[in-house]
Subunit: 171 residues, 10 copies
Amino acid sequence: MKLVEWLAKSVTDDPRALRWFSEEGSDERIARAFKELLAGYEIEPGTLLKTTRMLEPGERPGRVEVREIAFHSICAHHFLPFFGEVDLCYEPGDRILGLGKLPRLVDAYARRFQIQEDLVRDVASEMMDSGHARGVRVRSRARHLCMCSRGPANTSAVTDTEFALGTLAED
Amino acid sequence: MKLVEWLAKSVTDDPRALRWFSEEGSDERIARAFKELLAGYEIEPGTLLKTTRMLEPGERPGRVEVREIAFHSICAHHFLPFFGEVDLCYEPGDRILGLGKLPRLVDAYARRFQIQEDLVRDVASEMMDSGHARGVRVRSRARHLCMCSRGPANTSAVTDTEFALGTLAED
Amino acid sequence: MKLVEWLAKSVTDDPRALRWFSEEGSDERIARAFKELLAGYEIEPGTLLKTTRMLEPGERPGRVEVREIAFHSICAHHFLPFFGEVDLCYEPGDRILGLGKLPRLVDAYARRFQIQEDLVRDVASEMMDSGHARGVRVRSRARHLCMCSRGPANTSAVTDTEFALGTLAED
Amino acid sequence: MKLVEWLAKSVTDDPRALRWFSEEGSDERIARAFKELLAGYEIEPGTLLKTTRMLEPGERPGRVEVREIAFHSICAHHFLPFFGEVDLCYEPGDRILGLGKLPRLVDAYARRFQIQEDLVRDVASEMMDSGHARGVRVRSRARHLCMCSRGPANTSAVTDTEFALGTLAED
Amino acid sequence: MKLVEWLAKSVTDDPRALRWFSEEGSDERIARAFKELLAGYEIEPGTLLKTTRMLEPGERPGRVEVREIAFHSICAHHFLPFFGEVDLCYEPGDRILGLGKLPRLVDAYARRFQIQEDLVRDVASEMMDSGHARGVRVRSRARHLCMCSRGPANTSAVTDTEFALGTLAED
Amino acid sequence: MKLVEWLAKSVTDDPRALRWFSEEGSDERIARAFKELLAGYEIEPGTLLKTTRMLEPGERPGRVEVREIAFHSICAHHFLPFFGEVDLCYEPGDRILGLGKLPRLVDAYARRFQIQEDLVRDVASEMMDSGHARGVRVRSRARHLCMCSRGPANTSAVTDTEFALGTLAED
Amino acid sequence: MKLVEWLAKSVTDDPRALRWFSEEGSDERIARAFKELLAGYEIEPGTLLKTTRMLEPGERPGRVEVREIAFHSICAHHFLPFFGEVDLCYEPGDRILGLGKLPRLVDAYARRFQIQEDLVRDVASEMMDSGHARGVRVRSRARHLCMCSRGPANTSAVTDTEFALGTLAED
Amino acid sequence: MKLVEWLAKSVTDDPRALRWFSEEGSDERIARAFKELLAGYEIEPGTLLKTTRMLEPGERPGRVEVREIAFHSICAHHFLPFFGEVDLCYEPGDRILGLGKLPRLVDAYARRFQIQEDLVRDVASEMMDSGHARGVRVRSRARHLCMCSRGPANTSAVTDTEFALGTLAED
Amino acid sequence: MKLVEWLAKSVTDDPRALRWFSEEGSDERIARAFKELLAGYEIEPGTLLKTTRMLEPGERPGRVEVREIAFHSICAHHFLPFFGEVDLCYEPGDRILGLGKLPRLVDAYARRFQIQEDLVRDVASEMMDSGHARGVRVRSRARHLCMCSRGPANTSAVTDTEFALGTLAED
Amino acid sequence: MKLVEWLAKSVTDDPRALRWFSEEGSDERIARAFKELLAGYEIEPGTLLKTTRMLEPGERPGRVEVREIAFHSICAHHFLPFFGEVDLCYEPGDRILGLGKLPRLVDAYARRFQIQEDLVRDVASEMMDSGHARGVRVRSRARHLCMCSRGPANTSAVTDTEFALGTLAED
């Protein structure tokens, strides 16, 4: 079964559309692209975070934020991408986490079918659970192709979601 | 009865103005443009919003904002457009709403004769009523052609209106 | 005869739309607004330009540009405004023109039913004719409400027109 | 046959991915979104352009540009959107074209499976053929989701294409 | 008595300065310019504001701001202009005011000999008195030619004044 | 004879306007401000420029530009200021000129009754004459209060003038 | 005794450096430049501020700020300039102060050997003392040449200082 | 032992890579570059800060901030640089510190193997200890090459860290 | 043999520096990071480019540019990264190339020891050879850590290189 | 002999100015700062440039530019700093030069008493002589404290100089 069959049956049977899919290897190439966009299911987020160092007893840590982490995700309702940036701020609990793993955590939850409201909640929860944070605040901003390509009110719209837990939920 | 008759009688009888309207189909084309600008009356806003998913018992939702939603409306006092952008922020009550419907809600209230003060109130109320939000804050900024095309003090002026209900009215 | 009659017959008979026009003086107020937007027909552009001083024999003049002249006009095809800015550059012929009259010249041609392509041509021609310029270049950029309020491809579109005569047509 | 069958067979069988598609009406909703993105096949571009007015004999027209026309298209190689803006500049041949139709022409060619190199060529050719232009230059800039969501070198990349015909090809 | 007499006696008797005033109609033209800049004395601000609609009993109104209202005024100490922008924010009391009248209110107080500290107070008081507002906040920013044209410390300086009354004085 | 006499007779006899001038020393303070704005008549521009060093025989000099030189001037037609910036570029003839004198040269010609077209010509000519330049190009951009404080088309307008001589007139 | 003697003895005896000072009048020209930079010692700041008008009994004044006042000062530790901008905000006590005098007050304290921490304190104290303010807040931002011309960490550094008294110290 | 030996054994034995290191003096040049990047170990931070002047008894000092101090550091985990800017704000305790020493303090801690979380803590502690501050807040923002050169989520990411002590920890 | 041995012998033996490398797996982690940065040696650039479609006989292609392609490379002289962006513009010869492969081509040449002058030449040559382009122009801009972390003149410096071949070398 | 003696005799004998210099080591600290600013005399520019690699016979090199090189210099006429940025562009002759040496070359000529016109000429000539370039273009932009701290026309002024040789002089 190939994507072009669905396309022809459910979307359009215009031959100018369908001829693109007659090329050898076309269906496989599309599948590879979507496998990359959905690669987050292969990752176990709970094992991603690494410890840079444990805090010493009584050590008061400062605040850490990794900003402007690019992400790409797919909206399952329309099978179309949404994409944008996440800002991830946390207050360490008993350890300082490896900075380079924070974008990977975002990536692991973004490369799935998602809704933007759950993306920030999933990342925040993981930071508390396997990251042992005292507090976390995750903000995202994104454009949704299912929204932008439609009526004129939607073209320019940007969506923000935010989720905070622990000490950073009290700000 | 045609628009040119009103124009000739009430505004100007300069033949250079009136000759534009002698073309076949001119009145119909103008009517079509205004029908589009007033299409909001055809929409029942209370049926627009869709539920993406219900919250689970005890689930604490984050905050969601769709920003920079373009709108075009008509000021009935001068029969001239005003247009700009709406930022719509809400805290979910018992459900997360479909993002793509929020610009449509704005559009449904904007494509009417409106005043900018009521536009933000109408959208905010609908979010509480049929959207079951815990709180909502709607901000708009717009330029009014009835204002901009007149005296020099007005040319650059931008108008902001804001309306908040529920938890977001307490900020 | 009143505008609301045309509106009710040709555009919408929704009572929420029509009630705005039941107020005393409503039709007159709208007519006044459109009289202002069409006031250019009252002005004879050929008499607007004033001479600051004549050039002396053999004097080589420099180049003069008045930029970012705001204008508001009406597209007769849809009875909706378009508006933006004009940049008007000229090389004096036998005289230097009063700077303050150049925006008025633009205004005189803009406050009519216009198409943006003719606006720049009309202003440029007048600068050559009654302004005795050696060369002139008129550029405009504008947004058209008949365009912006429709499909998503149009919302962001900006239109530029340009017309040059004399020495400045050779650049 | 449904999209989820292709997804399960060719991309991922993770139940967290597939459960999104078990909802009633899911496949139809996705098909509707793609029908909109591919609606250009329903339009005959050669009939879109309208004449605002014919030039008078010997009339020298200026240059006209509609800039920042938003478009959304689909790359057939990866079944993923690309989107951006088109700038369309032309020199009238024997007529001035209706401005509002130029974004629709772009839309008609963009809402298909396209490659960005052909989009500018198709629009330019149509301007010469049914628009009777003396010259035309079409520029586009876009981001491709098939490119941006992959390796780090690609995330920020923007693609420009340009095509010119007639007098504007000689610049 | 003419302005040039004062100029010659009190400022400079350089013939290169005085010859500008020998032209017929020079004094009248200057007087007309100053009449426009001082036209605010002809206006009764208490009659300017119009009611768009009365609030319904128990109706909670939102906040309204007209921003970036351009103004030009004259500093009486040096007979030189100052100019800039006013932002006017109010909370309606028992009525929503016509937006287009707010810039006219600013204009009525600016086109007088003023000091920038009193301009914001005058506008704010009028909004409470004849506008029946619950609260008002008026901010201005301006450049003063009497200041900018002097020592180097002053050239770049911008002056802000602010005045608030009622509920908006409590922020 | 005092300025207030002219004001009362020719502009306005509103007592709220005139009372500002009853203060002791008011006329003198205004005269001092205008003396400063007209101080250029006291300066002999031909003596301002200084030589940093003479070029050596056969030395090829580069290009020098002092940009963004602020100036304030008075338009004699309306007795109102205009102000902005000058960019002064020159190619040395037989000498390199002291940089600090170039803004003073602009100042000497600006602090007079001027028209913006002559300001750039006067500065350019002086650079050729007493500065022995091989070429010079002077550009100015300014806002005119006599223009900005009037109809809406004028508020935003900026005026540019340019004058070039010698090798820089050939660019 | 001349500056070049100190230079030769304490800094460098490179003849390429010293030859610049052999020119007639060199030492006097440098002394004049430094006299201007240190001219603040000639001014008695306590006499600078002027009263525009006294407040009426019970009159509640608004807030006034003169922003972006340019200043140049000298750091005595390295005999090198520092320069930047001051923002001066005050709440009137019993009088409104002449706006034009506020930049002069900054200038009087800046044109001395200063440290940036004391500059804001000196200006703030004077506003309370001879300006009879209820509150004052002075902010400065500057670049120090003694800092910028050294190691790479310093090149980009900007220094801010702030000092508040009275009601504005409580914010 | 030379760096190229480690490179060949542990990273790549591609001759196109290794040939760069065959040049005479190559290893020494690399060592010199790293010595500079690690020069902070040679500095005793506790001796860096200098006193500009002691506060007088009862003197209330304002707030001082040196912003945008550039730094370069090395992440020991990947032997790759990270770099960015530090903003260092303090409230003097009993003395005002020499401004020029604050960037040097940052430099002394940055030119080591560091983690960005400790850099702000180290600088803040030193300001309290040897700088006798009442309060200090240190913010940094940086890009990490170990992060940016990897997966697409990381390319654009910026990391912020913040640490505050004393009175500024209470904000 | 481990990197820490070289470090201790050639750069610094400060125990605070060396202790970072005592952790298990430290040397392997650094090697992995450098393997990624040098992964370009594993790629055969001549096989990367793909054909989207062949041009038809006589077909005139437009111009294509992929801009702002991020790259990271290593300067072999100092074993330190340089990084920035490449703009790659080409005119097709007999085929249109797959857009997504152009960033990969840049990546293949950047992830090596490189000098920025050769990077643009290598990419341009490959576009002519295996891409069969009629012309190509490659521009890069980058920051070099070996340069930025040293004396103050270097901190802000940005390096541009450019290389053009075929029809685009004639511009 | 000390700097304070010159200051007291030639500039000001105000004790508030002179007391700064009574501190032990004050004269030495100032001398050290000026030694750094004049350190260019210690450097032989002809030995600075290094060869990255020789071009191969027939190799066509591209164009190389190092932009935004910060510099600080002293104007000998007023003993006051001027500072800004240099852009240095060259076309290689027989060799590619080490990028890191180009900012050092600028530094070597800037850290002297200079005039900005000669700075660009000196750097350009050295690039041709010891750098064996085919062409070079050097541009600088700077602010002069001797200019900025004086009359209002000068405060904002920026000075550009440019010098080109060889193939880049022909552009």
